[in-house]
């Protein structure tokens, strides 16, 4: 059974137009509210304009114009400035990354507040389920 992302506000970041399109469609079909950007830099601009706007950011790793790690760090810095944290001091928004390479170590993820790394090609069902569980468990407290 597919997860329901009802009400979850997502930002999808990927430079490949085909992939970006199907990701947006897929998450919208799961009832999420979805926006998208084609590069790390553009996504960061969007985020900074309104840091409260998104619950979760799902991003590709390798992109021209600011890769996934760049975006994650940027979001962490901004979120920190705006004290965007949940009751446990964990960052809002959630940051999920997918990548076709082994470029992210656990240390890097921790340092950049990256919650999940999915290997590409990734199952969106799994990704959606992970996001829902993470957000639900935070709210449960």
């Amino acid at each position: 059974m597919a997860a329901s992302l009802d009400g979850i506000r997502m930002l999808i970041v990927d430079d490949d137009p085909d992939l970006r399109e199907i990701l947006v469609e897929s998450f919208e079909a799961m009832d999420a509210y979805v926006e998208s950007a084609s590069s790390g830099r553009l996504a960061l601009d969007m985020f900074r304009q309104d840091p409260q706007r998104f619950d979760v950011v799902v991003s590709d790793m390798r992109m021209p114009g600011g890769d996934g790690l760049f975006l994650a760090r940027g979001i962490k810095a901004t979120a920190l400035e705006n004290s965007q944290q949940d009751a446990f001091g964990r960052q809002r928004p959630l940051f999920v990354i997918y990548s076709g390479f082994n470029d992210l170590t656990p240390e890097l993820c921790q340092e950049a507040n990256i919650s999940f790394v999915f290997p590409k090609p990734m199952s969106l069902d799994e990704l959606a389920a992970a996001v829902v569980n993470m957000l639900k468990s935070r709210e449960a407290v």
């Binding site: 597919a2 199907i22 799961m30 992109m63 090609p121 199952s123 969106l124």
Partner: protein
């Protein structure tokens, strides 16, 4: 007593005397006989063959006397060598030069002396054949003539002696050279004007794996060599270095070839072959060939080449993986989307068909990438030479690296304004272009201005495929070395340094060149290639 003055060219004379290595030598029958003849013909009790040294006179042969040498001061012969013809002293006591000479006044009691000069091979007087009596004497004209002739014979003996000495020295030297040739590690083979092997050294037998019987008389045309070029293609006998030398009279150097031993083992040799003029009039042209066993080095080289290939394959594999990942993600997302939508309710067919079309389209995208991968993988069908569009080569190559350029924010400009074909093995030319693009990538990745441009230029029957990058030129000391094998500016482990030399090799094998240029202050590497003029639609190997 008068001491004989020194010969006007005494130094030369003495040097010639010494070079005969005769002073102090053992008595010799040839000389002894002449002395005896002198005594008999002149009817005297004493005859000598003397040689006048710096401070003494020394006798090579004596008849009638047992002395080997006397001091030069008292030597009659020292006077005799200063003139030509027989030096005659009929009565020593009446001759104020010799009247008080100890040889005259003492026990030896010389009363008369007749000496004919003996000459060096160079013509200077070295000593005499002389006849000595204890009474006053006169020699008849015949006897004087005979004395001169005998002196002439001794002159001849000295000449022969000299030649023998020279010959012996030459033999010693030859023996030394011979030892060197026998013991050296490189093979040496001589072939006569018909190409048959006439001389060789042990190293030649060893390196070629042949016995003497198998090697002697063999020519370069013998198919048993199974000779091959460096690239593995068969090398006909006419193109062996020695054959080239015999045919053209010009040296053939640094030629690498493979030959098979009778047991079928392949040996690689590096060959230098030189023309040799042999024969009395130097009319015959032989070939002298030296070769080194190259097999170990070739193995080492090929495993390094192998390693370089593997590492560049690794690079390519990474590029391919990335290219394929994204379309796979699209396909996966589409199929999950379809499944989800059918789980919810039966969806609108139009929407379903759209997703199905996307899956189809994306699969083809992957197929295209995989096909290009195959062309790099090689194989007999793919490695055939064909007339390929430059555009196709560029397109295929870009599949391997454009993703990387994009990911690092390096702009890639492609401007191929001509539909030109080149006769080549498509995957090889792709390999060269990929190498150049990777080099350009490394050069600009850390710069502020990051771009690489690929363009074509056509002039006459040549096409230039140029890779320009935003880098600001290569230092001249590196330019001169960069095409050499194993030269790299990359840190250890990051590059084998073989890429450009392999690239150059590939281009040169199809009549092309690899050239560095500075264009408007930017680094440009030019692949200069002959345009294929056949214009036929051979198509490219997919």
């Amino acid at each position: 007593m008068r001491i004989a003055p020194v010969h006007p060219q005494e130094n030369e004379r003495l040097q010639e005397l010494n070079s005969l290595e005769i002073l102090g030598s053992l008595p010799d029958e040839s000389y002894d006989r002449i002395a005896e003849l002198a005594a008999i013909i002149c009817d005297v009790p004493i005859a000598l063959i003397s040689l006048v040294d710096r401070d003494r006179q020394w006798f090579k042969a004596t008849f009638g006397i047992n002395v080997r040498e006397t001091h030069r001061d008292v030597a009659f012969c020292a006077h005799a060598i200063l003139g030509e013809g027989v030096f005659s002293v009929p009565d020593a006591l009446k001759d104020e030069r010799f009247a008080d000479n100890p040889l005259v006044t003492g026990d030896t009691a010389i009363r008369s002396y007749f000496g004919a000069p003996v000459l060096s091979p160079e013509g200077r007087p070295l000593g005499t054949v002389c006849a000595i009596d204890k009474k006053i004497r006169d020699l008849s004209p015949h006897q004087l003539k005979a004395l001169e002739n005998l002196a002439g014979q001794v002159t001849q003996l000295l000449r022969l002696r000299k030649e023998l000495l020279i010959s012996e020295k030459r033999n010693e030297e030859l023996a030394t050279y011979r030892t060197a040739v026998l013991n050296m590690n490189d093979g040496l083979v001589l072939q006569d004007e018909t190409g048959a092997i006439t001389h060789y050294n042990p190293a030649a037998l060893r390196i070629l794996g042949l016995t003497e019987e198998q090697l002697l008389g063999r020519t370069s045309l013998d198919p048993a060599w199974k000779a091959i070029r460096e690239d593995g293609s068969p090398l006909p006998g006419e193109e062996h270095p020695a054959s080239v030398v015999l045919r053209t009279g010009r040296a053939c150097r640094d030629f690498i070839m493979g030959v098979s031993t009778p047991s079928g083992e392949l040996r690689w040799i590096s060959v230098n072959s030189e023309p040799l003029s042999i024969g009395q009039g130097r009319e015959n042209c032989w070939a002298a060939t030296i070769f080194t066993d190259f097999t170990e080095k070739k193995k080492a080289e090929s495993s390094l080449l192998q390693a370089a290939r593997l590492s560049s394959l690794g690079e390519m594999a990474g590029g391919i993986a990335h290219e394929i990942n994204t379309p796979l993600a699209v396909i996966l997302a589409c199929t999950e989307f379809l499944r989800r939508s059918y789980e919810k309710e039966v969806p609108d067919p139009a929407a379903t068909l759209l997703k199905v079309a996307k899956i189809e389209q994306t699969s083809l995208r992957i197929a295209h990438i995989v096909r290009s991968l195959n062309s790099f993988a090689g194989g007999a069908a793919v490695e055939a030479s064909s007339d390929v569009l430059i555009r196709n080569i560029v397109d295929e190559t870009l599949i391997f690296c454009q993703e990387r350029f994009r990911a690092h924010g390096i702009d890639l400009y492609v401007s191929l304004s001509h539909e030109v074909r080149v006769s080549c093995v498509s995957s090889q030319l792709s390999q060269v272009l990929l190498n150049l693009l990777n080099n350009a990538f490394d050069a600009v990745n850390s710069l502020d201005e990051k771009w690489v441009s690929i363009q074509t230029e056509v002039e006459d029957s040549r096409v230039r495929l140029v890779v320009v990058d935003s880098g600001r030129g290569i230092p001249s000391d590196i330019v001169s070395k960069m095409l050499e094998p194993f030269f790299t500016t990359k840190p250890l482990g990051y590059g084998s340094g073989l890429g450009l030399s392999i690239a150059r090799g590939i281009l040169e094998s199809i009549g092309g060149r690899l050239v560095y240029e500075l264009r408007k202050g930017h680094t440009a590497i030019v692949m200069d290639l002959p345009v294929c003029t056949r214009g036929g639609n051979h198509g490219r190997v997919a």
